[in-house]
Amino acid sequence: MFITLLKRELMLARRNWVAVLIPLFFFIMVVSLFPFAVSPEAEFLRQIAPGVIWVSALLATLLSLDFFYRGDYQDGSLEQLLIMSSPTQVALSKVVAHWLVTGLPLVLVSPLLAGLMHLNYSPDGILLERGHTPIMMFSLLLGTPSLCLLGAIGMSLSLGASRNGMLVAVMILPLYVPILIFGSAVITASLGNSGYNAQLAILAAILLFALTLTPFAIGRALKVAVS
């Protein structure tokens, strides 16, 4: 049943590929605005890169949430899904699909931005043999699923309310703070050539924690939304 639900979500995403790709372009655009707005100086960009990349990834995830929840709520499909299968399964299928079509592409496209932010150069401007790109991608790989899971709670809770886009942001951004701190700390530590295993472990712990508990919260919130 989970596979049926997941296939449906992915099929809907494929039919609406424009809506699905917009957050990805948003991510690229926001990051590339910084060299224009702040300073194109390599050393400076390298220093702000962890924060810029993570904040942009976080906003892109928030932006993409709406598509996966609002449509089903409005046309009554959500009611049918909740009647015919368990709320937890519905929740999990939506989160997995959401991550596959927005979180994962974000991770895959991030090396491009790493180049833009000079992550692969040493402070003296020498191209590094092993840049900081892989570790940045790994931090995003561990962090973006948590962003999807937590965002889904806020999205489901706000389905019944109007003007929910802003509401979700206000509700969820505080919860994103730990992920943001440790996500960018991984890259910062890597840039400073210090150990980053602890930060990665905490990111992984947040992900496991979110993965085991949030599906129940999301399912419950979806139930409340249709009642």
């Binding site: 099929m11 046309d75 009611e79 015919m84 009642s227």
Partner: protein
């Protein structure tokens, strides 16, 4: 998954039992202490003026709306109990048709049958579609159809999915005479095979044999009008 035909009539006494049900919406009691029983093979017409709580009762039956007190049992088990298998037995058609506009008709219908774990062949879908005269539209996107055609698509779920309880909110609205007859026929056939039908309608339906009529009245309408005066 058992088919409709193999439905045993052993629980003919009462399939769906509602005891002491109280529902409130927005802090106001809508239905109070309702007792209803729906036997296997019966068609029940729920009626009452707008706002009397027909839709709320249906949504409570479907488990979408929480009730304050009372219980709803399906075959002797609470509907939320896994043993009742209620989620697989229930087919609830609401006002909104719950079809995705970006999928084709066939894809929409296929999804719902998949979700019931029932494999439906292409020809089965085609048969229903031709009965409803929408067979030429199967590959069209749902959004391209007229309102009446969209309604027909939603109705074809009744035939394709092997549910045992139909809860239909205003199924006859917006239908042409031919489709109305088709739906009455399907409802009577379904009841004959032991299914349970509960539907709402503001008009009497010609040719439909109804076994039970339930009238819902606004619980405290008099008090309300007094308060308003």
């Amino acid at each position: 998954m058992s088919s409709k035909q193999s439905e045993p009539s052993s629980y003919s006494s009462s399939c769906l039992e509602v005891k002491g049900l109280t529902i409130s919406r927005n802090e106001q009691v809508l239905l109070e202490n309702i007792d209803l029983s729906f036997t296997s093979g019966s068609i029940t017409h729920l009626f009452g003026e707008n706002g009397a709580g027909k839709t709320s009762l249906m949504r409570a039956l479907a488990g979408l709306l929480n009730h304050d007190s009372g219980q709803i049992c399906w075959r002797g088990f609470k509907t939320s109990h896994p043993e009742a298998n209620f989620s697989q037995d229930l087919l609830f058609l609401a006002h909104n048709l719950a079809m995705k506009s970006e999928l084709t008709i066939a894809e929409n219908l296929q999804f719902y049958t998949d979700l019931r774990g029932k494999s439906v062949s292409r020809s089965e879908i085609q048969t229903v579609a031709s009965e409803l005269r929408i067979e030429s539209l199967l590959e069209r996107h749902f959004a391209e159809l007229s309102a009446g055609q969209q309604h027909k698509v939603s109705l074809s779920r009744l035939v394709l999915e092997s549910a045992k309880l139909w809860v239909l909110d205003e199924p006859f609205v917006n239908l042409d005479a031919r489709t109305r007859d088709w739906l009455s026929d399907k409802m009577m056939n379904f009841a004959k095979k032991g299914g349970v039908v509960i539907f709402t309608s503001h008009q009497a339906i010609d040719g439909l044999k109804i076994h039970q009529k339930v009238s819902l009245t606004h619980k405290d309408r008099n008090e309300q009008s007094e308060a308003a005066a």
